[in-house]
Symmetry: D2
Subunit: 333 residues, 4 copies
């Protein structure tokens, strides 16, 4: 049984806490949060206790740290956990600054610990199957990847202001999907965007509607459309088109109920948001992390995957600002 410490008792921390508690091979030793009351409440609800982070790092019996605190704390927490020799499962992103993210990865590498990044979509049963079938050649040679990704409702302006922007905060998941499905690294990124949904987002210096096109060295294309608002639910769809056809994953629905009336056939909206759509994904992500910790086969998203996605987001931001295609990478940031 692997002993976990959870850092962060917010919305996503709560998901992880319950998944750790429910996993037969894991034990939630303690919960830490700058908000002591939140930590206490979460700890109580899953039969764990509040833990002091310093103490946790010194606790030799602790195997792993799950980091679900705010983004600006990720780099320091990863570094501390790595120094303490703990395995790390960290929510995305590593950091909003690619340079700092790279430095953090070096620290992890020096420490020789396992770092897994929480790109939950790779564990979504539909996207996971999609990738497996594409990897098995069912689309033939991949030529064009189409990603539609829309949130149900825009976040508060104050969240947007410290989010790092749509590319680093929201489209970063799609950049990871793109890399995973294209089978090659994108070498150019071309971004277009606008503030069409919520003027407050524009005032905060960000966009809420975007299309990004990326191309790999062999010419493969990926286009991603994002919106911060979607009337019909959480719109999460991917199509991979290739020489032998297409493999795609459609939205998921809470039920299969459909009504037919004089207006036609109506199916309910898509699952509301990521907590519903990716509930299974969070559970399977933790299970894969534990599998790898236990030496069993399992797929974890590496820190380098996290860095590359961040570099694509940075490139998209530069492309948007400079109105030209740019190459992703550390040399230009």
């Amino acid at each position: 049984v692997k002993r976990f410490c959870l850092v962060g008792a917010g919305r996503i921390g709560q998901i992880h806490a319950r998944n750790i508690a429910a996993h037969e091979g894991a034990q939630l030793v303690g919960v830490a949060d700058v908000n002591a009351a939140a930590a206490a409440q979460l700890a109580r609800s899953v039969g764990s206790r509040v833990i002091d982070l310093q103490e946790a790092m010194r606790d030799e019996s602790l195997d792993a740290v799950l980091i679900a605190s705010s983004t600006d704390t990720h780099a320091d927490l990863i570094a501390a956990a790595a120094r303490a020799g703990k395995a790390i499962l960290c929510e995305k992103p590593l950091d909003l600054d690619a340079g700092r993210a790279a430095a953090t990865l070096e620290a992890v590498q020096r420490a020789g610990v396992l770092l897994a990044l929480g790109f939950n979509r790779r564990y979504d049963p539909s996207f996971n199957r999609l990738q497996a079938r594409v990897a098995a050649g069912e689309a033939g040679r991949v030529e064009t990847v189409t990603i539609i990704s829309r949130d149900p409702a825009p976040p508060p302006a104050e969240y947007v202001a410290r989010s790092g922007g749509l590319f680093r905060d929201m489209m970063i998941h799609d950049f990871d999907m793109a890399r995973w499905l294209l089978g090659e690294e994108p070498i150019t990124v071309s971004a277009s965007g606008a503030c069409l949904v919520d003027p407050a987002i524009g005032k905060a210096g960000d966009i809420d509607t975007a299309v990004v096109v990326m191309q790999t060295a062999s010419g493969r294309l990926c286009h991603i459309a994002n919106s911060r608002r979607c009337a019909y639910g959480y719109d999460q769809r991917i199509e991979v088109f290739g020489s032998a056809g297409m493999v795609r994953a459609d939205n998921r629905y809470a039920t299969s109920v459909e009504r037919a009336g004089s207006g036609g056939f109506e199916h309910e909206p898509a699952l509301t948001f990521f907590l519903e759509r990716y509930a299974d994904a969070y559970r399977l992500e933790l299970a894969a992390f534990i599998d790898v910790l236990e030496g069993r086969p399992g797929m974890v998203v590496s820190g380098l995957d996290g860095l590359r996605a961040l570099q694509l987001a940075d490139a998209a931001q530069r492309s948007l600002e400079q109105q030209r295609p740019v190459a992703p990478g550390p040399e230009r940031s």
Copy 2:
């Protein structure tokens, strides 16, 4: 080029007139109808002329008679056309009386002319493909056939009164589909029904909602659900289930447009009624009849098929009245 005379200038006669006019291998020599004005108007619109039926039968240059007049005229017209040596394409049913229908078939047989019955659904591209794939074994050995068949709106009570009843007027199409898809003749028919849609139909002595179950000698089952009214259009679906899976044909739609809004995903209603859903079927039915006339391969529905469907309808009527399963067939009528 085959020279046709059309009897009946009503709704279905008009479809046939236009299809004959548009077919390269056919010529519409004349239109006959007891309503002279209707005959004249239809003849004018397709560049043909009004014809006297007696004269038409004597016209040696005429190859075929297409009968689309009222049901009570079918038997006499078939007999007259058969005596005159004309090929016959007759709208369903042969007659409302199975005995008279059988006698008519004998007359046709004595005359040695081609008689094709207008069971249009066999030519619907979806149902036609369905049957072809079932016949090719794609469902494996057929075990259960499910037919859903609902009209958009009930006919006027005066139509119902002289229609022969739901089984002979409406479900007769489904009986033909059942025979075609089961691959065996039904030996028992068990009918249930009620008047739930329109009390005027009940006053006219008929039902408007029915479920019929039929079974073949080897045990294969078919269940058919009918309604005289359907809020979401013309509901025409068939599923054939067997040892290797299922082959089914869903409804057809005028467009592929779908809207997603806060209420969910909405697809337009099914095609309104048979004139829309079976427009292709009527055209292909005529083409097949001409193919056979010309000696080319083609599938026509025989008079015997028409008689058998009528016998199943009669059996359903008896089953409903006697509240027990009955065997179809002439000996019990």
Copy 3:
């Protein structure tokens, strides 16, 4: 927190054990099974202990007994639990004999305890939503209910032999759905069936393919098609047709992945079997039972519902044997 004892450590007992263990308002005090090793293994895996049934019944601190043992034990266990004043959640069916089931219900009533029957489909999110929308009038006045229910593969012949037959063992779930959705009690039952799938089932005196039609006093119709084998997965679909349209629940799939190739568009098979399709349903069934125990609003399936479904199954069996429609009810059994 409600304290449970579980009787039965088989496939379904295991599901219930995990759901009790995971529910915040429940505690699994002990597991009983005639197979002591099975009881011990299940108890260990969920952190509970093996319990002696007699002792459990005497344990005043125990609130509820969940009965998931073999069918022939249900009636005695219900009676014993009722005498001991325990709330009861019992897997379907109450018993294979309607008379004995009725006597058991009387015992429960005398004891004044809560008895809930495990008709899991009522808690399936899709069927539950279907019923709610029908009850809210979205189909208008209900006229015809169509139920397709097919198992992926036939059970072993020895299971069939003591199962009570397809109607009591398999279609009983559909009888419950029919009663729930029709909004009226069926007054006639007409059954057709055959052994088309597995000759061993026929040798065991049962059928594996069936269609049943039922009608209510006001004329509403329900037709149910069952098969013990289905090539494309666990086929579980319901359509409710009425004056205002139709509400239906389609199959559920593990993922939303679809492939398009030269052969067309392919979607994966339906969820394999009831353990997958109804995993949520079992969880929600337990939650509803606990809600009612705690005095919160919640829907439980009553013992009378179980008896009525059994009477419909008995009627179907008689109808099949006598080849005529029969009325369900105790007076004729």
Copy 4:
């Protein structure tokens, strides 16, 4: 009745010839083609005759010229027909050179004749309904238009060589759809492309796979994905996303038949190619042209629409070559 002369007896000319012949308000007076045999054969098959183009232009009784000859003849034929005072329905594109196209439009304007351009997709029932519903506000304020457009198989290299390239030959249809659906003119065009399908296309100096992103002055985005080859048929889909939801048009299929087997659910491929998918569109395009000629309400695609689409194609070509977003328009060509 409007009297037509058809120029061009090739694949598309044949469609138009049959549609003119079948339209009650039109008469096909003659067919002209540089290939006299082709003209004669087509004329014979639709009951028309071969006509000399010069003679046709002088024939005062002729109302309209339908131009379906090779692209390089369009400008001269339009100019000649305009001088002769004939109404013109011309296949797309006006010309491969935007300057020459503009000059042609001026000649048409001076002559004061009706010029309609054959952007057939506007008349496709699904895309037509899509646009009507978007125009009616069903998507709310339009934010992002997604167009997927893939041909089933690449054209011969010799065709590619004189086609004007993928943007002017193939994506030009999508540019027209984009303008029609965005509700605003694109002001920037950003193109990415590669030769991934057929090396012969690359040798001919063209690409076969492309993604183009366009943006309007208010920030609305459109992304278009093209491929010259598609394993599953003719892939023609459009989604319009906006503040109130999404309206989309999916592919169309020859039948509604689906098979379910152990591999899952399989639906047949999409309609093979434009002759099948857009058969209705060609017919409705002609009907709209005749409606406008007769003074009835009707929608025709103007010469200016043709020029604007060509300018977007030119801009895409420049963007691809210069690897930067460019503005469409005459000043930069």
